[in-house]
């Protein structure tokens, strides 16, 4: 039986650069590797990865397995999973860390079933049990109404990790590491899907994930219009972005890419202003990493007030315009 050793991060690239989730996984992986006194490696697979490979070392990797192949430019499950499976079988890591991202969600369960192991998705917390050396995996369940702790005896131990829950290391360009160019043959006969078209739908302006301030509306907004007027005015004033909880997205009041929550985007701005959002766990799962949450809701019992630091109880139609105009005055002065 192979000996399973080390931590492997399945890295991702965003616009050719190392993705922020990957730096977070490397930060977490470094701690686990040091605790186990084992190596931290990172797998990068795309059309060109050499610049990102150096970055992965600067962010903590001891080794980077660099797979370059033109067909890997765009994520395609059947080809990408083959690559990861082959590398994993070659190096037999003890632990595999994957981002709970569009790619990770799609790839991790496939890989786990192929390897005959289990994967715990959407982890918030990881540690090593000192006695058993097993990875202790904590994830939210029941829409965030509880958390569950899992372990698995099967190797490799696989997890996906929620974005913005782990801290990257300070970037250190002098850190030493090894880039290992890795050839993988991709069996195209096993690629059963074809991407016919990729369509960008993102609105112009600040991206939700990058916005320092988010003004978010919920079911209580009652329709699409306030998102374009009351909320947008406040967001513009604060150089922020407009977001929403799930009901406005499901009802088509806002496009899906503005949906913040367990199954939408995970954001962690400095300021999160939740307006007419009740604060179901589904939603707070997507915004609880915010530095400061401010809630405006007509229901004093709304769950969002348990998350918020400051709040006003009242109808948003009355509170928000007064808030915005006072703020405008203060910011001008």
């Amino acid at each position: 039986m192979a000996e399973y050793k080390g931590i492997l991060v399945c890295g991702e690239l965003a616009d050719g650069k190392l993705a922020s989730i990957t730096t977070e996984l490397l930060g977490c992986g470094r701690k686990l590797a040091d605790e186990l006194k084992e190596e931290l490696s990172c797998l990068l697979a795309s059309d060109a990865v050499s610049a990102a490979a150096k970055e992965a070392i600067a962010f903590g990797a001891d080794k980077v397995y660099a797979v370059e192949h033109p067909t890997l430019k765009e994520y395609q499950a059947d080809s990408y999973t083959q690559v990861v499976e082959k590398v994993v079988k070659d190096i037999s890591p003890r632990v595999i860390l994957i981002g709970q991202t569009s790619v990770g969600r799609d790839m991790a369960p496939r890989l786990a079933f192929r390897l005959g192991t289990s994967v715990t998705t959407d982890c918030l917390n990881l540690s090593v049990d000192p006695a058993t050396k097993l990875l202790v995996q904590t994830r939210p369940v029941y829409g965030g109404n509880a958390q569950a702790v899992f372990t698995s005896q099967l190797m490799p131990q696989m997890v996906t990790v929620r974005a913005k829950t782990m801290s990257p290391l300070e970037r250190d360009a002098s850190r030493k590491g090894e880039v290992i160019p890795t050839e993988v043959d991709i069996d195209t006969s096993k690629v059963r899907t074809k991407i016919l078209e990729t369509v960008k739908e993102e609105a112009v302006g600040i991206k939700l994930e990058d916005a320092p301030v988010i003004v978010s509306g919920g079911r209580g907004m009652g329709g699409p219009q306030p998102f374009q007027t009351v909320l947008k005015e406040l967001a513009d004033l604060l150089h922020g972005a407009v977001g929403a909880s799930r009901p406005p997205a499901d009802n088509g009041w806002v496009p899906e890419h503005l949906h913040i929550g367990l199954t939408g985007k995970i954001v962690a701005p400095d300021i999160y202003i939740a307006i007419a959002i009740s604060g179901a766990s589904q939603h707070t799962a997507g915004c609880s990493g915010s530095k400061h949450i401010i809630a405006i809701n007509k229901d004093p019992e709304a769950n969002i007030f348990r998350e918020a630091e400051f709040g006003v109880v009242g109808k948003y139609e009355e509170v928000v315009p007064a808030f915005t105009s006072k703020l405008k005055e203060l910011l001008a002065g």
């Binding site: 499950a77 059947d78 991202t101 569009s102 799609d106 369960p109 496939r110 786990a112 079933f113 192929r114 192991t117 289990s118 998705t121 959407d122 202790v136 369940v141 029941y142 829409g143 109404n145 509880a146 958390q147 569950a148 702790v149 899992f150 059963r192 899907t193 074809k194 991407i195 016919l196 078209e197 990729t198 369509v199 739908e201 993102e202 604060l238 799930r246 899906e256 890419h257 199954t263 985007k265 300021i271 405006i296 769950n303 007030f305 348990r306 998350e307 400051f310 709040g311 006003v312 109880v313 009242g314 109808k315 009355e318 509170v319 315009p321 007064a322 808030f323 915005t324 703020l327 203060l330």
Partner: protein
């Protein structure tokens, strides 16, 4: 077409009703079970194909102690057949044991073009079962589908990606894992409800699908649940008040400036 659906405690119930007792989630009896929200979308995706291309829909569910009126909603909205994997032995499984049992049931059902699943259950939220079924059956899978149709023996799927969507063509048979955006599940018609009341679900035990009870459900898990808990959250919200609600809004602006947040 086969649609996998799960009976779960209503996830829209207020957070305070969910209580962990002895490492198990409990909800009071007034919280009614429902078909998970993403499985409702999966059902709607199958019904939309049936509307245009025809075909038969088999709803498939795994669990124990199904509330017949809840799970029969699948029949009421237009599924032709309901298969329940219902046995104590199926309880407390994980993504692996669930996918394993569902895949065994799919094999017994026999012919199918598409297996629709929801992106994640509304209780454990793991998001693995659809992909697991595809891997066990050796068929392709497309996840996060917000639109799906069949033409020329292939399925065409709109898959949601972070900044838009992709149009993906996949060979059949395939698993399609559905997210929101497909449209809410249609209401059952009176005729549909009456017809569903007359139909009896097919119930299979582990042995009926070739599984040993000692290797499914809790006994078939690959991951071990060590602990289920609810982190205690202390509310420390400062509520800003005023003579009028508008005044409270203005005072909030002043308070946030004072706190140097804005």
């Amino acid at each position: 077409m086969i649609v996998c659906c799960k009976q779960v405690p209503d996830p829209e119930a207020p957070p305070s009703v969910f209580k962990v007792v002895n490492n198990k989630m409990t909800v009071p009896p007034e919280v009614k079970p429902v078909i998970g929200q993403y499985e409702e979308f999966a059902l709607e995706a199958a019904l939309k194909i049936k509307d245009t291309a025809g075909g038969k829909i088999t709803a498939l569910s795994l669990g124990n102690n199904f509330v017949r009126d809840v799970i029969k909603k699948a029949l009421a909205v237009g599924a032709d057949e309901l298969v329940l994997l219902e046995d104590k032995a199926f309880e407390d499984g994980d993504s692996w044991s669930t996918a394993d049992a569902l895949a065994a049931a799919v094999k017994k059902i026999g012919t199918y073009d598409i297996i629709f699943c929801g992106r994640q259950s509304s209780d454990w939220d793991a998001g693995q079962v659809g992909l697991g079924i595809a891997e066990i059956l050796g068929i392709p899978a497309v996840t996060l589908a917000r639109k799906a149709g069949i033409s020329d023996g292939k399925a065409k799927v709109e898959r949601v990606i972070p900044d838009g969507y992709q149009v993906i063509e996949v060979t059949l048979p395939a698993v399609i894992v559905v997210t929101s955006g497909i449209g809410a599940l249609r209401y059952a018609t009176l005729k549909g409800i009456m017809a569903a009341a007359k139909k009896q679900p097919v119930v299979w035990k582990p042995a009926d699908i070739g599984l040993e009870p000692s290797k499914t459900g809790a006994a078939g898990r690959r991951s071990k649940l060590d602990k289920l808990f609810q982190p205690v959250k202390e509310s420390k919200c400062e509520i800003i008040e005023g003579e009028t609600v508008a005044e409270a809004g203005a005072k909030l602006a002043v308070r946030l400036r004072e706190a140097k947040l804005l």
